[in-house]
């Protein structure tokens, strides 16, 4: 019943990924997902891996998507995309964009074999990895994308641990080793850059890989208001170079105007809190700074 106190909410269905989803306030993934979906447009088919991007958007009998969307399992959005491409080829509908998405667990770990197969076959698919650096949907466990020292529930910090003991797997180099014609990183800290990359990638035939950095509020122990800020700091500290490769050549990179110390990035996230307790933690932070400096040098970011 409508009265002066209850106004019927009119959902702004101007997007192709619409409100009503259950992503957290400040979720980096859902920002990237909406930007991606709106950019690829309605003449697209999307496949998704199991994880937050699926659970939050498509709870039966509802769906936030206004484009055809399919989820099968954790590890196979790339294979699904291959199959869709093959079907569209047979039907003479190759003008439709086929886009696969997965979190870093689906991409770096459990689905890497399938992604490798898709890249190697040269299928005409854009694959976007929402990189939030752990299995956040299942409760913050370490994945191949988890950085050094991050506190995760399977690599917790403690008296004898500084958290995750290994560094992040370099998926960009793995993609380049497959001769993927378009490879890029992006961050929700710079949404226009991400949108521009999605657009550019769709002009290239063959496989495309974009890895977008998406802060996770509950997993990282950050504030919703800081999502974009952390996305920017990941870049401006040198930790997460924002680069683009076309046909294996570094064709674009975002330049750092003002280099920020890594502490500024780390202190906004409770997953790194244990590094600020004592002298031993300082040594770990020094490793981070060295990693950032090395990135800045390798890619010429300044």
């Amino acid at each position: 019943m409508e009265n002066s106190k209850t106004k019927k909410y009119k959902a702004p269905l101007s997007h192709l990924l619409n409100p009503g989803h259950s992503a957290c306030a400040g979720c980096g993934m859902i920002i990237a997902a909406r930007l991606l979906t709106d950019t690829i447009g309605s003449n697209s088919i999307m496949t998704g891996a199991t994880g937050c991007s699926e659970v939050t958007t498509t709870q039966y009998p509802m769906s936030s998507f206004k484009i055809p969307w399919i989820h099968s399992l954790f590890e196979n959005p790339s294979s699904l995309a291959t199959g869709i491409s093959a079907a569209l080829k047979k039907q003479g509908k190759e003008d439709i964009n086929v886009v696969a998405v997965g979190g870093d667990g689906a991409t770096f770990d459990i689905g890497i074999g399938h992604l490798s197969g898709m890249w190697e076959r040269g299928d005409n698919v854009l694959y976007v990895c929402y990189d939030n650096e752990a299995y956040q949907n299942t409760g913050y466990q370490t994945s191949g994308a988890t950085p050094l020292n991050a506190y995760t529930t399977t690599a917790p910090a403690g008296k004898k641990s500084f958290g995750n003991p290994t560094r992040k797997k370099d998926m960009i180099k793995i993609a380049l080793a497959h001769h993927v014609p378009y490879v890029a990183t992006a961050t929700v800290g710079y949404p226009l850059d991400f949108v521009a990359k999605v657009k550019r990638s769709l002009t290239i035939k063959g496989p495309k890989y974009i890895q977008v950095y998406v802060p996770c509020v509950p997993g990282w122990g950050s504030e919703p208001k800081d999502t974009v800020n952390i996305g920017k700091l990941a870049f401006s500290t040198g930790y997460y170079p924002i680069v683009e490769y076309v046909n294996g050549q570094l064709s674009g990179k975002m330049k750092i105007n003002k280099k920020e110390p890594i502490e500024k990035f780390l202190t906004l996230q409770k997953r790194f809190k244990h590094l600020f307790k004592d002298e031993a933690g300082k040594k770990e932070i020094a490793k981070w700074q060295a990693m950032c400096d090395s990135n800045i040098q390798e890619f010429g970011l300044m």
Partner: protein, 378 residues
């Protein structure tokens, strides 16, 4: 036209004539000749399906999920470890109601690694929600593939056609391959009611909470149950179109026999030869062929042999620690419906040849009631 063909080649020619849109494959012995033949047809311009080489069986089945959801008629073939590797996808395919058809060249499961025939592979995915058909010879296997697409697309349930690896896949037999024109008359073009289409954007593979999950699973269960009628109807229709008989169960031998042997697949030929010999020496034994493991034709089996005294079930698979899979199915079905004594006999594991003498030995187990399987390997 009748031709002398290897089983695998005959299946490949049938798939080509069916007019599938997307084939995705990964090689595994003894399935390889099927996917090689399909690749060659494509290479020679004799077929116009998309042939997608997958990096694993898991990928092959996943690729078909995408293709089928996008409205393509799809096919793959596998065996043994390959089937087990794609298990997660098999459950998913059935749950998503995708009418994918797959051949399984039945083979033993590791360890020890063994590439030869038994039927352990397919029974491990018995509960995935697929329709599972078994052919006795290559003619029947080819015919079952044509039938499989009709059933899969009508019921929106995937179908697995099983044949014994090597025993059938690598054996040359005289086979009539149904031509594409005749298949077109029998099998209408694949037009799914829902598919991935930007003009009508739908969400596939949604997340179901406890509020909805159970009803969705029950609906699949009910439809697998109901598919039995459809299979029986289509088998009758198949005979009208092509003149050859297909049936859920088929009795062979003296109807008055009080002992009957039940089995699936190519071993039925050997069993029939063995009981023909026994008949000459005055012993009456019947044989019942079972052509579908899911849906299980329990009523049809009871109707044929429920009044028998002794039932011997020959399985090339078992639930370790228990008994043969088909034997267990019969016991469950017979409970309260028949007084027959059911004996589970395990034979032919890992490619061990099954001889007529072994079958006769199995028949001597008639009436010996136990709760454990009897192994006969010599």
């Amino acid at each position: 036209m009748k031709k002398i063909l290897e089983g695998s080649r005959a299946i490949a020619e049938t798939i080509k004539n069916i007019g599938v849109d997307v084939v995705s494959c990964y090689p595994i012995t003894p399935q390889t000749h099927i996917v090689e033949d399909l690749a060659k047809f494509k290479a020679d311009g004799e077929a116009d399906y998309e042939y997608v080489r997958a990096e694993s069986e898991f990928a092959a089945m996943s690729i078909l999920v995408g293709a089928s959801a996008a409205g393509a008629r799809t096919y793959t073939a596998t065996s043994s470890q390959g089937l087990l590797l794609m298990t997660e996808v098999l459950y998913n395919v059935a749950g998503m109601r995708l009418p994918i058809v797959m051949t399984d060249a039945n083979r033993a499961i590791s360890a020890p690694i063994n590439i030869w025939n038994d039927q352990q592979d397919a029974v491990t995915v018995r509960d995935a929600g697929w329709i599972m058909l078994y052919g006795e010879n290559n003619q029947e296997v080819c015919d079952l593939h044509v039938l499989a697409y009709k059933i899969a697309e009508a019921c929106q349930i995937p179908v697995m056609v099983n044949l014994d690896g090597f025993v059938l896949t690598h054996t040359l037999e005289t086979i009539e391959i149904i031509d594409s024109k005749s298949i077109k008359k029998y099998l209408p073009a694949f037009k799914p009611s829902e598919k991935l289409d930007p003009k009508d954007p739908l969400t596939f593979g949604a997340f179901a909470t406890p509020k909805h999950y159970m009803e969705i699973r029950q609906e699949l269960h009910d439809d697998v149950v109901a598919s039995k009628k459809m299979i029986a109807k289509e088998m009758t229709s198949f005979k009208k179109y092509f003149g050859r008989k297909l049936s859920l169960v088929d009795y062979y031998g003296d109807k008055s026999a009080d002992t009957v042997v039940v089995a699936m697949g190519s071993v039925l030929g050997t069993i029939k030869d063995a009981i023909d010999e026994l008949k000459k020496s005055g012993k009456k034994v019947g044989v019942l062929k079972v052509s579908s493991l899911r849906p299980f034709p329990a009523e049809e089996i009871i109707k044929e042999i429920g009044n028998k005294k002794n039932v011997i079930v020959i399985d090339k698979s078992l639930s370790l620690g228990e008994e043969g899979i088909l034997a267990g199915e019969l016991k469950r079905s017979f409970y309260g419906n028949s007084k027959a004594t059911i004996t589970s006999v395990i034979m032919g594991l890992g490619g061990r040849d099954i001889t007529k003498e072994m079958i006769k030995k199995a028949i001597t187990q008639a009436g010996k009631s136990r709760n454990q399987a009897v192994f006969i390997g010599k």
